[in-house]
Symmetry: D2
Subunit: 300 residues, 4 copies
């Protein structure tokens, strides 16, 4: 499919524009090329390559068990299967400033539009797990990472988002604001402030104090019930639905596997699953069929 | 998760036993580690690593667009996330007899239980597409592949399944029987006879004539409505549900993506998607939490 | 090292210019990033990423035993470590026209300047081995490959070289000329005519008849004694030293390994091997040292 | 080549025996499959997969710029091309205890005999560079790594070597001894004490005090002039020639590249480089030629 659609660097400029646009943007999670394609077709203007869901799809923990090049390969397939910009969940940068530089160089080559880096240690622990292990990186060290990231770009439009886990680590609003400001001065293009509260109060306290110094991106996995207009009123730039396609697919695959197992037949689920033609369509088989006619001539 | 469960070669013996057992076995498709884990938890005693669904998940066509080592990496994650035997859809062997030998060596190392090789050319075309391009490999060349596969095994229990596409290619029952017999003599452990008819007549005509010279495996993607007992009456050894988890997940992801997009909120789908705790459970996070206590001591 | 030198697409234009320039160009073989760096430092304006030597360095046969993505990874490291254009030995394209398109897309992303594709089957056999297995691809099928290669380019400067093995396969000069002309019409940018004769007569017979319809590239592995001016007189565009760094390193590593083994000491070889400082220099460690000062501040 | 020689787990037992044997063993560095094959043919009973030379061959810095899975792939080719045991230079374990567990699981699958882990941070800095950045890991944290490594083994013979960089970091003999003892109690199979002095005094001060509580392995890159018998008198178990094949190949490749460039001809070096037949022999082409006769029948 990617064969007919040029993978250009312009996705970086589009992601940058979405973040700076005054209207609220929604990014949908994707964990492989197929889910990325589906999210794009549903109309999302940008995608979130989630560390949690990519690791879950790979069958490993969200603790940097997959190497950064294994994750990169997933990203490359996602990029090839889509045309909208992809923001990579870069965890803590997979090491130090230099590891992050290498990651970014490779993301640029593969047509990824930006990376989000969080101020935790390597290997990371998922933000919703083990509150007692959510240690933060030093501010100076993390600012060095952001500066290195910006300095190494070949395409100046590539987006570097800084994510602070200060609220996750229980360090409070002042620390979150202090860190966000330091990351802004170090060159970040946008700020993610993460919160695991079931209400948006904590996140919104941040946005109020922050006063739009840089675009703010939120990930309301826990405060999912917050209406879109509440984000708009806070001047939030973008909201990430960080894991929903994977979570939906888990339930459905469990139901189908259990039913086919129990009934010893796939007849009962046939009406509820995509026809083969839809699988082939999502793979972009039509382009290949036409190309075979063009380049292979008659049937071999 | 795999860290606490030894990946042993014994999966090969278990797959072999399932195929030779007089009772009917069902294999469920998996296209990544997560779907493999789900299929195992649903009770399937063995898995089918499908070429179609793995390529679809990767966003490429079922025409060997992913290299054999890229597919191998998917298989390795699947193997690490499960304990039941996995039969790999090896397409036409990714080249000649020597390519197949290399593939098998790597499958053995990664704990895969067997490979199914089909008598088509490289690169392959999906059996349900472009009937006019379904050319078959020469019988001698394909028998050479099977002999090479058997001769290179380190673990004699590794299963080599030969799949004939004679019916797919419109070459008729006699050709299918002639080829299956040749593959049996070359050392195949079981035979897949593939059919794209919406009824099992063609496949069952084969099983009747074949008379159980080797275990027969069927893939009723098109004749899904056939009852399990009909397979039993034909003495079929195993049935593969070759793409159902992927097809189910496509519909569900499309629904979720579209609804969240339309409603600008994830609130409407929250009840229908797996909770985060279920994602963490499927990743085996409990083992890591315990290991962190054991090896890291107090919180870092 | 690559971190400070932009990997641009402009290498494609430079390779194209070298081939069309009336002066004779020499390309040196490289089989990994280190040998590529050394060849560049010695002054070669372009590199040949050899299928034979890359496979030998990987410890596998020159018969497409390494998958195309494994070879691609070697190429990516080579590209990152250099700034001169690299021409990839693409064997027979690792499959059909579609496989070649995928390869080229990935080569473009990784900053490789061109690919050379030969009119043999997949998997290939090295041209100096087993004359009885050097079967040629059909002309129409191979021309389809070249057309597909040209049509899929994002960067129109990317170089597609067509290599005919007609002389290797014993098919004679007329067949070589007929094929080269067909490949030219299909869109090739240059022609490699390969010969295993110890004298250049066969190759020069081709260049005389060919009359410079497209740039001609020769690989005088066997007719190495031919003086440079003889190539110039024939109007040859480029000469590839296709395996010399690897072959030199083999002898030296064998000598060193045997001597250290025999003497139970490395003292005897110390003067003849590169100092550690030279290893660090070739790795570009100076850039990292400076970057650590810039981004890490004081010693950690 | 690996196709005819089983890759068994028994290499682990052989490496273990070599380390515990009272006689002095020499390990030769290898940085890819070819150099590994050459070192084995020269008679070395075991190989050292060096972090420095593998990174140099890949064109990156010895600072964990290559991901652990990229290094693993190099190791896999090395393992496939040899039969002697390989000890991997595992740097600081590529992260924490859990990353090390994952690495070890993959090393076991690929037939690697053991891993050497050093008490530095991630990403590491080469021991001969930037003395001011050679910070050590905490003793407790590093002992947790060793315990985790031992606990996760499927093959109890797999060798876990602990390397202390206390002398490199300028922390003195007492610290080196204290750490080595802690690592012994945590389950290490052998100790590497690294020194960058041009004389072995520092290392030998360690061996005298250590009194053979566990086998000691030394890496005399700087004190290369020490005679073998001096190591024997100290009861040293093994000596690693850690980078000599690569350093020898660098000089030779530089000479050849420069000479061919200057002379515009390869004629001058032909006598000094391996003949093509030697390249094919090292690749194990004879096995493939025979297999083609067996499995392909007549020439295709």
């Amino acid at each position: 499919m990617a064969l007919v659609e040029p993978v250009t660097q312009r996705r970086t400029a589009r992601l940058r524009a979405l973040l700076h646009d005054p209207s609220l943007t929604f990014l949908m999670e994707a964990h492989n090329a197929l889910s990325a394609r589906i999210a794009q077709e549903a109309g999302f203007p940008a995608l979130w390559a989630s560390g949690l869901t990519i690791s879950a799809a790979l069958g490993v923990r969200d603790s940097n068990e997959a190497s950064w090049t294994q994750v990169l390969e997933v990203l490359e397939f996602m990029s090839d299967a889509t045309t909208v910009p992809i923001l990579m969940d870069g965890d803590s940068g997979h090491g130090n400033f230099n590891t992050l530089r290498r990651l970014i160089r490779k993301l640029e080559q593969r047509g990824i539009a930006g990376v989000c880096v969080e101020d935790k240690l390597f290997p990371k622990t998922n933000s919703f797990l083990r509150a007692d292990r959510q240690a933060l990186a030093g501010v100076d060290e993390f600012c060095g990472k952001i500066r290195a990231a910006r300095d190494c770009l070949l395409d100046g439009e590539f987006v570097v988002v800084a994510r602070t886990e200060a609220l996750i680590a229980g360090r409070g609003l002042d620390e979150a604001l202090r860190r966000a400001e330091a990351y802004r001065r170090a060159g970040a293009d946008a700020i993610v402030v993460h919160s695991k509260q079931p209400e948006p109060n904590e996140a919104f306290a941040f946005t109020r104090e922050w006063a739009d110094r840089l675009p703010v991106v939120l990930i309301p996995t826990r405060y999912f019930a917050t209406p879109a207009n509440a984000f708009r009123e806070q001047g939030v730039s973008a909201v990430i639905w960080a894991n929903h396609l994977l979570r939906g697919s888990i339930v459905r695959m469990q139901e189908i596997a259990e039913r086919i197992r129990r009934e010893e037949s796939a007849a009962g689920v046939e009406a509820a699953i995509a026809p083969l033609a839809e699988v082939f369509r999502l793979q972009g088989d039509d382009e290949l069929e036409e190309a075979e006619r063009r380049y292979l001539g008659g049937p071999s």
